[in-house]
């Protein structure tokens, strides 16, 4: 069970966009911006409030890679695996991160809720390939070594 405050916050967000089906995506985005993920209970709640089925809301939420039903870490690392980054060896970068953080294709977030590693299809910065993002910051021309050094640095920040 989520705390009542989550529902109050969600009500505020819903009010922002109105109780209509078309408001689903902006509402989900704002919820995710607030909590860094989309709690399943809130998706069900939003669906009911804006008059669509839970299944429909789930369809939309799973269609977009960007929405996550799992709580994300403090640092969300997006490794670009678009064509340009892929041919310039993004996979070793990803694998190095997975190995260092004990993550995998199935497990995205470290148990201490510090790091989330996910792949994205293109960050729109192909000239800087292979590219990576940590939260809002872009890191160009990555190598496994640079990625691991970055993790060390972030851990130092706490």
């Amino acid at each position: 069970m989520l705390d009542q405050s989550y529902y109050q916050k969600t009500d505020e967000i819903i009010e922002r966009y109105g109780r209509k089906a078309a408001a689903l995506i902006p509402i989900m985005q704002d919820i995710q911006a607030e909590y860094r993920y989309l709690p399943a209970e809130l998706l069900t709640y939003v669906a009911k409030e804006i008059g669509i089925t839970e299944t429909k809301a789930y369809s939309v939420a799973t269609f977009y890679e960007n929405f996550s039903f799992e709580a994300k870490g403090k640092y969300v690392i997006k490794v670009c695996d678009g064509t340009a980054c892929h041919v310039r060896h993004s996979t070793p970068v990803l694998e190095a991160l997975w190995k260092e953080l004990g993550l995998s294709k199935k497990k995205h977030t470290t148990d201490d809720m510090m790091f989330t590693v996910e792949t994205v299809s293109c960050l729109g910065a192909c000239g800087l390939a292979p590219t990576m993002m940590v939260n809002e910051q872009v890191y160009p021309s990555m190598t496994p070594e640079k990625a691991l050094a970055l993790i060390e640095q972030l851990r130092g920040n706490g």
Partner: protein, 563 residues
């Protein structure tokens, strides 16, 4: 309006909404997986693609017909195109055809055979996903889903529930309930319409044939069957008899040969339902409370009210459904040692319906702590069992149902069609049973295949306002209009499946083509026409029930007692 040239032949068209309809009307079969005439056009499977005289290819299901079009439906190019689609679908498909419940009835399997798909060149990269057996009515196997979306659309457009939806995308796309929940954890009402429109084995009936075979093999068990009205007009077609023909006599004979000790007709308790529900209706009208009265025969509808309109729960008739009444009566009758003769009794209910399986498992499906209905078999399962028993159904003689519960009225028989329950209630309430009176009732607006029917009939100085609807999306409209005060009724009959039980989720289906409420409904009305007893209250067994063995037990056996 205009002409289209199909494969060199000129064909006239009028107001058909798409090219596919015209092609099929011209007697040409173009394969489809995702097209269902009563649902919105989806255009996903691309199998119905046709070619025009300029070599352009397009899906005929989503193409508006234009005068002067010249199209070809089976060119070499299209054949290759279709074969590749089938091959690609099979690449990501569970291919254990021999153990699949849809074996022999699967559109994908049939198309693969027709198009000579003998090898699949592509590896299946999809992970195997668990099969959902959680619902007593429906089994969902995502490994056999071809993403045609028929179930998604029938559940939201026709039934207005929307339990199933598309999830994820690309190669991860799936059809499932929200959060991949099990069907038993959702708002699913078990109507089985998803299974009716599924072209493959992804959604199938949760079958119980093994349980019944076991019971039939046990010498110490008396296996008794009850057969619902809509079953008798759907079995024959599976054995090459005319569509919609009443084959009740053959069904009874087949069941006797399979080892059923006694075979009864659910029409008998349909008549009891009419007796009880009419009395309940008159009482509510007299007191002016809990109106409109909502019928309770359809378990998918009852579940729908509980899930989505709990405020209407008190309006639902307290009458058990005919199935549950019959099972309770049978169990009670054989509870008496003089009748039981040392055997235990096993009640098999043969229904056109998948929701009846769910109903039989409900907490209120017990009397004196004993489960009333042991097992529900759908029409489709019955057909398989008749086949498995080596019975030559076409050549079966006709046999009558057994006594003491073997007589039903015409009013009970027409329960299987939308409006039937209401018509039977009216027959019970209106004085007289001459042809003129009965005809006036039949023509008051109660019959017909419209999704929502409204009419009123004068009775005892009041104008009784009645609504009859089938399909739960229609039911939702009706309840919303009552809730808002826009509409006012005394009596509302709802059947979850469009057209009523004849189109139930457990009936045999031939996949993607237009389905046949009409022939089956006609079959029921024709049967009613041949019956001497038309009114439930004139069924001689009613008196035996109320004044004989079951005297004083009507309330306990025939009604639900929960709040």
């Amino acid at each position: 309006m205009g002409f289209i040239t199909i494969n060199g032949k000129k064909v006239e068209f009028t107001n058909e909404k798409n090219l596919l309809t015209i092609i099929r009307k011209a007697g040409i079969e173009v394969p489809t997986l995702c097209y269902q005439p009563e649902l919105s056009v989806f255009g996903a499977c691309r199998l119905c693609t046709v070619e025009d005289d300029r070599g352009r290819c397009f899906a005929s299901c989503s193409e508006e017909p234009r005068d002067g079009m010249v199209i070809y439906t089976h060119t070499e190019r299209l054949r290759k195109h279709r074969k590749l689609i089938i091959e690609l679908l099979l690449a990501a498909h569970c291919r254990d055809c021999t153990t699949c419940d849809k074996h022999g009835k699967c559109t994908l399997q049939k198309l693969a055979y027709q198009h000579g798909v003998n090898t699949i060149r592509f590896a299946n990269h999809r992970e195997e996903r668990p099969v959902d057996f959680s619902s007593p009515s429906i089994v969902r196997d995502p490994n056999k889903c071809v993403l045609c979306g028929n179930c998604v659309r029938v559940c939201s457009e026709i039934q207005g529930i929307g339990v199933l939806g598309f999830t994820h995308r690309g190669t991860d796309a799936d059809v499932s309930p929200a959060f991949n929940k099990k069907l038993s954890e959702t708002n699913c009402v078990s109507c089985g319409q998803c299974r009716v429109v599924c072209p493959t084995g992804a959604l199938t009936i949760h079958h119980n044939m093994t349980d019944v075979w076991q019971a039939l093999g046990d010498k110490n068990t008396r296996v008794v069957a009850q057969i619902a009205p809509a079953v008798r007009v759907a079995v024959g077609e599976a054995f090459g008899l005319p569509k919609g023909e009443n084959s009740m006599g053959k069904i009874v004979a087949a069941l006797h040969r399979m080892g059923f000790d006694e075979v009864f007709d659910t029409t008998y308790t349909a008549d009891l339902t009419i007796m009880e529900e009419s009395a309940e209706f008159l009482e509510r009208v007299a007191k002016g409370e809990k109106l409109p009265l909502l019928t309770s025969c359809c378990p998918a509808w009852v579940k729908f009210v509980e899930n989505e309109f709990p405020e209407f729960k008190p309006n639902v008739s307290t009458c058990r459904s005919p199935q549950q009444m019959f099972s309770a009566i049978l169990k009670d009758y054989y509870r008496d040692e003089a009748n039981a003769k040392g055997k235990k009794t096993y009640v098999v209910s043969i229904m056109p319906c998948t929701a009846k399986k769910m109903e039989a498992e409900r907490p209120d499906a017990y009397t004196y702590g004993e489960k009333d209905t042991d097992i529900v078999l759908t029409t489709s399962e019955l057909i398989r069992m008749i086949d498995a028993a080596g019975i030559n159904f076409e050549n079966m003689p006709s046999e009558a149902c057994d006594m003491p519960f073997g007589i039903g009225s015409g009013g009970g028989v027409i329960f299987g069609a939308t409006g039937g329950v209401t018509e039977a209630v009216l027959r019970r309430l209106v004085e007289g049973h001459d042809p003129h009176t009965l005809e006036a009732i039949a023509e008051c607006g109660v019959r017909g295949d419209q999704g929502i029917k409204e009419f009123s009939i004068p009775y005892n100085g009041i104008e009784v306002k009645i609504c009859v609807a089938s399909g739960l999306a229609n039911a939702r409209k009706v309840l919303e209009s009552v809730k808002s005060g826009e509409k006012e009724y005394h009596f509302i009959e709802i059947m979850a499946c469009p057209g009523g039980c004849v189109m139930g989720g457990g009936q045999p289906t031939d996949g993607t083509k237009v389905r046949r409420a009409e022939t089956r409904t006609k079959g029921l009305y024709a049967t009613d026409g041949t019956m001497a007893i038309k009114k439930s209250n004139e069924n001689p067994l009613m008196d035996l029930f109320y004044n004989g063995y079951f005297k004083g037990k009507a309330h306990e056996l025939l009604h639900n007692h929960h709040e």
